[in-house]
C-alpha cells in the first residue's frame, strides 16, 4: 500500500508551487488584469429587506446613454442561480427578499462614474413585513419562503430516545447559540466577463469552483456547455466565501458584457462585499442529555435551528453537516437529531470553513462541560468515559473501521499544554488576581469529503498529461486559494511517477482545459482528488511500461523519453481517473443512516484564557491543537492550515460580530468588523499523529476545515474554568462578559457589606 511506503516528496516541506510569484508581487489576481476596451460594472441593490418594486427612477442629471443598463428582463435564459434549488434570482424581478439584493446592473468605461451612477438610481418599493430571526421565522406568522419558511429539515434517529429518560441518573439540558461570521478574505469578490454571440461567455474570476460557475451560467444564458468558459485567477482567500457567490457575480458581469459589447470587470469594494455576500449561518442548538450513574451517555436529544437567509443556497448541505457533527465524538445508544434551516429576510448565508460543524461542535463541546459541572465529574474524565473507539458505531450507525485515537490525542494535548498543573495553579492564583485564568478543551471530528452519497454523485474526474516540452501537468478543476492545492497535488504526482517536484506543474484552472474534479470544498482535495491523481499517475506508468517499454525502475529522463515515444506512436500522453467509492460504503439519504463520511479527522484543542475582571476583556494566551488527519503531505502547509483555522476560530469566539439593523449589515467595514490581528493571536502549538488512510491521496484525510471546529468551545470552556460562569453564546465580547460578571461582582460586594 503506497500510503505506508517511504516517500521522497510527499511528507516533505517543499516550497509552495506558486509561492515565488506571490512573493514577487507578480501573481495576477483578478483586479490586476485588464482587457482591451474593458468597462466597469456596478450593482444597484435593494434598500429594504422585503417588498415589491413599484418603480425605478434614473436621475436626469446623468447621461444614461453612456451606460449599459441591465435588469431581469435582459436575462436570455433562466433568472435563477443554479445551485441545489433554483429559488434565488440572478436579478430581483418585481420583488426583493433581502437588503442589498441585486436589482439593476450598470456598466461604463469609467469605474468612478459607474459607482456615482449606481447611487443615482432610485427604486420605489411597497414594503412587506420582514422576518429577521430564527424565532420569528419559526412562529410562521409571516411566510417568506415556500409554504412554511423551512428551507430544509433532517431527522436522524438511533435507538429509542423517548424511553431512555426513565431510569437515567442525570438529565442535563442546555441551549447554545452562534452568530454569523464573515470570511473576510483580504481579496474581495471580483470577476471579468467577456461575451460574444459566437464564442459565448468567458469568465476570469476569484473563485473556488469553476464548474459551479459554469453550470450556473449555462442556465442564465441558456447556452450549451462549450459556450461557457470559466477561468480561475489567483485567488486571495476564500474559506467557502467564494464557493457559491461567484456564480451570481459572474452572471452579472456577463450580462453587462453582453449588453455593452465590452469586457466588463466587477470587483466589489469591502463595504459591498461585506453587506451583500454570504456568511456563516447563525445557529441555535438545544441539547437534552441522559446519563447513567457512571457518567456514561444514555440518550442525546438534539434540536438544531439555523438561519439560512432569504434563499436556500447551500443551507441544506450546511444543515446536513451540522446534523452529522452534533452528537460529537461520543458513543451513545440513543440519539435523535431534529434540524431545520429557517428562511429570513437577511442576505443568504452560505459556505464557510467547517460548513455547519463549528456551530454543532460549539454546542456539544460546551454542553459536555455543562454536564460535567452538573453531575460533578471532571470534564476530561467525562469525555474519556464516552469517547468513540475503533469498532464503535456513530449516531448514523457507521462502524468506525479505521483507528480512532482520541485518548492518545487527548493525552498528548494535556501533556503538551501542562493542562492539569496549570488548572491547579490558576485556581489558586485566581483567588487574589483580578486577571482570572482558565484552561478549556474541545474534542471533535470533522468528516472528510462530501456527506453520504455526495462523492458518488459528484463522480469526479481528474488526471495528468505530459506536455511536449517535458512537463507533467495535473489536470483538475480543484483550485488554489492559499490552502495548498497546487503544492500537494504536484507533490503527489511527482511522488507517484518517481520524478522531481519541479517536473510537475498545474494545468490552468480553466473549464476549457481541465476536467471536473469537483468543487474545492469539504476538505476533499487532498483525500479524494489527491487519490485520483495518485491513481492516474500509476496508471500512466503502467501504460508506458506496456506500450513503449518503460522499465520497472527508471530515471526521470527515461520517463520523459518513454512519454515522447508514446506520443510519437499513440498520440496524446494523458491519464484520467474517475472517483471510486471505498468498498462497503452504504448511505441511506432518507433515513440518514450509514457511512456519513468515508473518513474522519480527529482533534483535541486546548485553550489557555485570561479574563481581565477590570476591563472585561478575554484573551487567549496560549493554544494547543493535536490532530490525526491521516498522512501529512506537507508539514509546513498542514501546520499553516491548523494555525490559520485556529485563528479564525478565535475570531469566531471572541471578536467577530455581524451587526444587523433592519436586515442590513451596519458594521460592513474593516474598521468595525474586527478580526484577530498579529497582536491578538496567541502562540499556537500544532501536533500531528499520522495514521495513513488507505483511500486518500498518499494516505491523506481532510484537514482544511477541522481546525475551525474546536477553538470556540475550548475558549468558552476555559472562560468557565477561569470565572466559574457559563457563557453559551458567541461571539462573546467584553460587553457580554461585563453583563454577567459585573452583576455577580456587585452582588458579592453587597454581601460583603
Amino acid at each position: 500500500m503506497s500510503a505506508h511506503a517511504k516517500t521522497r516528496i510527499v511528507g516533505s516541506p517543499v516550497p509552495r508551487k506558486e509561492g515565488v510569484d506571490k512573493l514577487l508581487g507578480r501573481a495576477r489576481y483578478v483586479d490586476d488584469i485588464e482587457r482591451e476596451g474593458m468597462w466597469h460594472g456596478a450593482t444597484v441593490r435593494s434598500a429594504i429587506p422585503r417588498g415589491l418594486i413599484r418603480s425605478i427612477g434614473f436621475d436626469r442629471n446623468i447621461d444614461w446613454s453612456e451606460f449599459a443598463i441591465v435588469t431581469a428582463a435582459d436575462i436570455p435564459g433562466h433568472n435563477h442561480i443554479q445551485l441545489i434549488f433554483a429559488d434565488q434570482p440572478c436579478l430581483a424581478d418585481g420583488k426583493v427578499n433581502h437588503c442589498d439584493e441585486a436589482v439593476i446592473l450598470l456598466a461604463h468605461p469609467n469605474k468612478h462614474k459607474v459607482r456615482e451612477a449606481a447611487a443615482a438610481v432610485r427604486i420605489e418599493y411597497e414594503p412587506m413585513p420582514p422576518v429577521f430571526t430564527i424565532e420569528e421565522s419559526e412562529r410562521q406568522d409571516v411566510i417568506v419562503w415556500g409554504a412554511d419558511n423551512v428551507l430544509k429539515s433532517f431527522l436522524l434517529e438511533k435507538g429509542d430516545v423517548d424511553s431512555a429518560w426513565v431510569g437515567a441518573a442525570h438529565i442535563v439540558e442546555g441551549e447554545y447559540r452562534t452568530g454569523a461570521q464573515e470570511h473576510l478574505y483580504i481579496e474581495n469578490n471580483g470577476v471579468i466577463a467577456e461575451y460574444s454571440a459566437d464564442g459565448g461567455v468567458t469568465i476570469w474570476g476569484s473563485l473556488q469552483c469553476p464548474y459551479y460557475v459554469h453550470k450556473s451560467l449555462l442556465a442564465v444564458f441558456d447556452l450549451p456547455e462549450d459556450k461557457v468558459r470559466v477561468i480561475q485567477t489567483e485567488t486571495g482567500g476564500a474559506f467557502g466565501g467564494k464557493e457559491d457567490y461567484p456564480s451570481i457575480l459572474a452572471a452579472h458581469a456577463a450580462l453587462l458584457a453582453m449588453k455593452s459589447g465590452h469586457p466588463v470587470k466587477m470587483v466589489y469594494d469591502r463595504m459591498e462585499d461585506l453587506a451583500a455576500t454570504t456568511k456563516r449561518h447563525p445557529s441555535r442548538v438545544r441539547h437534552r442529555t441522559a446519563l447513567d450513574g457512571n457518567g456514561k451517555l444514555l440518550a442525546m436529544d438534539i434540536e438544531i435551528a439555523t438561519d439560512g437567509g432569504a434563499y436556500s443556497t447551500l443551507s441544506s448541505t450546511v444543515l446536513s453537516r451540522a446534523t452529522l457533527h452534533s452528537p460529537g465524538p461520543y458513543v451513545c445508544p440513543n440519539v435523535r437529531v431534529r434540524s431545520r434551516a429557517w428562511a429570513t429576510n437577511i442576505a443568504p448565508y452560505g459556505a464557510f470553513r467547517g460548513f455547519g460543524a463549528p456551530q454543532a461542535v460549539f454546542a456539544i463541546e460546551r454542553h459536555m462541560d455543562e454536564i460535567a459541572a452538573a453531575i460533578g465529574i471532571d470534564p476530561i474524565e467525562l469525555r474519556r468515559r464516552n469517547f468513540l473507539h475503533d469498532g464503535d458505531t456513530t449516531a448514523t450507525e457507521q462502524v468506525m473501521r479505521e483507528p480512532v485515537i482520541l485518548d492518545q490525542l487527548l493525552d498528548r494535548a494535556l501533556a503538551e499544554s501542562g493542562y492539569n498543573g496549570k488548572r491547579a495553579r490558576f485556581a489558586k492564583e485566581n483567588k487574589t488576581n483580578p486577571v482570572k485564568r482558565g484552561m478549556g478543551i474541545a474534542a471533535f471530528y470533522h468528516g472528510s469529503g462530501f456527506t453520504g452519497s455526495g462523492e458518488r454523485n459528484l463522480n469526479s474526474l481528474a488526471g495528468i498529461d505530459v506536455t511536449a516540452d517535458g512537463k507533467v501537468r495535473v489536470l483538475v478543476s480543484s483550485t488554489e486559494f492559499g490552502q495548498g492545492t497546487n503544492t500537494v497535488l504536484t507533490q503527489i504526482a511527482a511522488e507517484a511517477i518517481g520524478i522531481d517536484y519541479e517536473d510537475v506543474m498545474m494545468a490552468p484552472p480553466d473549464t476549457g482545459i481541465v476536467p471536473n474534479s469537483g468543487p474545492t470544498v469539504a476538505s476533499r482535495t487532498s483525500m479524494v482528488v489527491g487519490r485520483l491523481i495518485e491513481r492516474a499517475c500509476l496508471q500512466l506508468v503502467a501504460l508506458l511500461r506496456k506500450n513503449v517499454g518503460l522499465g520497472e525502475t527508471f530515471s526521470r529522463e527515461e520517463f520523459f523519453a518513454a512519454s515522447e515515444r508514446y506520443r510519437a506512436t499513440k498520440g496524446e500522453v494523458v491519464s484520467l481517473c474517475r472517483y471510486e467509492a471505498p468498498p462497503g460504503i452504504f448511505w441511506d439519504d432518507q433515513k440518514y443512516r450509514g457511512e456519513a463520511y468515508p473518513a474522519y479527522a480527529w482533534s483535541i484543542h486546548v485553550a489557555q484564557v485570561a479574563v481581565d475582571t477590570v476591563t472585561y476583556s478575554a484573551e487567549v494566551e496560549d493554544f494547543w491543537a493535536a490532530q490525526e488527519a491521516g498522512r501529512v503531505l506537507n508539514p509546513v502547509l498542514a501546520g499553516g492550515q491548523i494555525e490559520g483555522g485556529v485563528a479564525q476560530g478565535i475570531g469566531y469566539a471572541l471578536y467577530e460580530k455581524v451587526l444587523l439593523q433592519d436586515g442590513h449589515m451596519v458594521n460592513n467595514q474593516m474598521t468595525n468588523y474586527i478580526m484577530p490581528t498579529a497582536e491578538d493571536v496567541p502562540p499556537i502549538h500544532v501536533y500531528f499523529v499520522e495514521i495513513p488512510f488507505s483511500h486518500g491521496g498518499y494516505g491523506a484525510k481532510g484537514i482544511g476545515e477541522l481546525p475551525h471546529d474546536g477553538p470556540a468551545p475550548a475558549i468558552l470552556n476555559a472562560i468557565r474554568d477561569a470565572v466559574g460562569i457559563s457563557f453559551t453564546s458567541i461571539p462573546l465580547l467584553p460587553e457580554d462578559l461585563f453583563a454577567k460578571l459585573a452583576v455577580r461582582t456587585g452582588v458579592e460586594e453587597v454581601a460583603a457589606v
Binding site: 483580504i186 481579496e187 486571495g236 490559520g644 502562540p683
Partner: protein
C-alpha cells in the same frame, strides 16, 4: 486626458517616474493603474488591512490613504522593488520556506511592513514583530509562520536595511 495635470515626480524602486494625474488620486491607484505596479493590493480602502503598504521616505504608509500629491519628490519602495537582480530578498526567501504566504494577497504589504520593521530593528523579538505587523491583516496563516519568516530573515541578514529605500 491626463496631460492637463501638472507633473508629479517621485522615485519608485530606484527609478524616477513622472505622472500627470489628479493630485488627489490615491498613490495606490497611481502605482497600480498608471505605473502598472500591481503588486500592492487594495483590501479595504480605508487603511485597516495594510495590503497596500509601501515604504515612502523610510516610513511605512497605507498607499490607499496617500494622495499622490504627497508623494512629490518621495522615494518609494513597493514589493516589486524588494528582489534584487532576480534574487529573492531574504524576507521573500524566508516567507517561501517558512510558509509565511498562503493566498498571497496580504503578502506584498506584509513584506513591506516586515522590511520596514527590520530596517528600524534588525533583530526584533516576537513581541516587536507582533507590534510591527499589527497594521497588516492576514486571514490565512494565523500569523505564526509570518513571525517565523521575519525571525528567520533577521537571523540571515547581516546588513541593516535602513537605507534601502533611498540607496537603490
Amino acid at each position: 486626458m491626463n496631460a492637463g495635470w501638472p507633473a508629479i515626480e517621485f522615485v519608485v524602486n530606484g527609478e524616477t517616474r513622472n505622472v500627470h494625474v489628479p493630485p488627489m488620486k490615491r498613490l495606490l491607484d497611481v502605482l497600480r493603474e498608471d505605473l502598472h505596479l500591481t503588486g500592492s493590493k487594495e483590501g479595504c480602502g480605508e487603511g485597516e488591512c495594510g495590503s497596500c503598504s509601501v515604504r515612502m521616505n523610510g516610513e511605512l504608509v497605507n498607499s490607499c490613504l496617500v494622495p499622490v500629491l504627497q508623494a512629490q519628490g518621495a522615494c518609494i519602495q513597493t514589493v516589486e522593488g524588494l528582489a534584487c537582480d532576480g534574487e529573492l530578498h531574504p524576507l521573500q526567501q524566508a516567507f517561501l520556506h517558512c510558509g509565511g504566504a498562503q493566498c498571497g494577497i496580504c503578502t506584498p504589504g506584509m513584506l513591506m511592513a516586515a522590511a520596514q520593521l527590520l530596517a528600524n530593528n534588525p533583530r526584533p523579538t516576537v513581541a516587536e514583530i507582533r507590534e510591527g505587523l499589527a497594521g497588516n491583516l492576514c486571514r490565512c496563516t494565523g500569523f505564526k509562520r509570518i513571525f517565523d519568516s521575519v525571525l528567520s530573515a533577521a537571523a540571515q541578514t547581516e546588513i541593516p536595511m535602513a537605507s534601502e529605500t533611498h540607496a537603490r
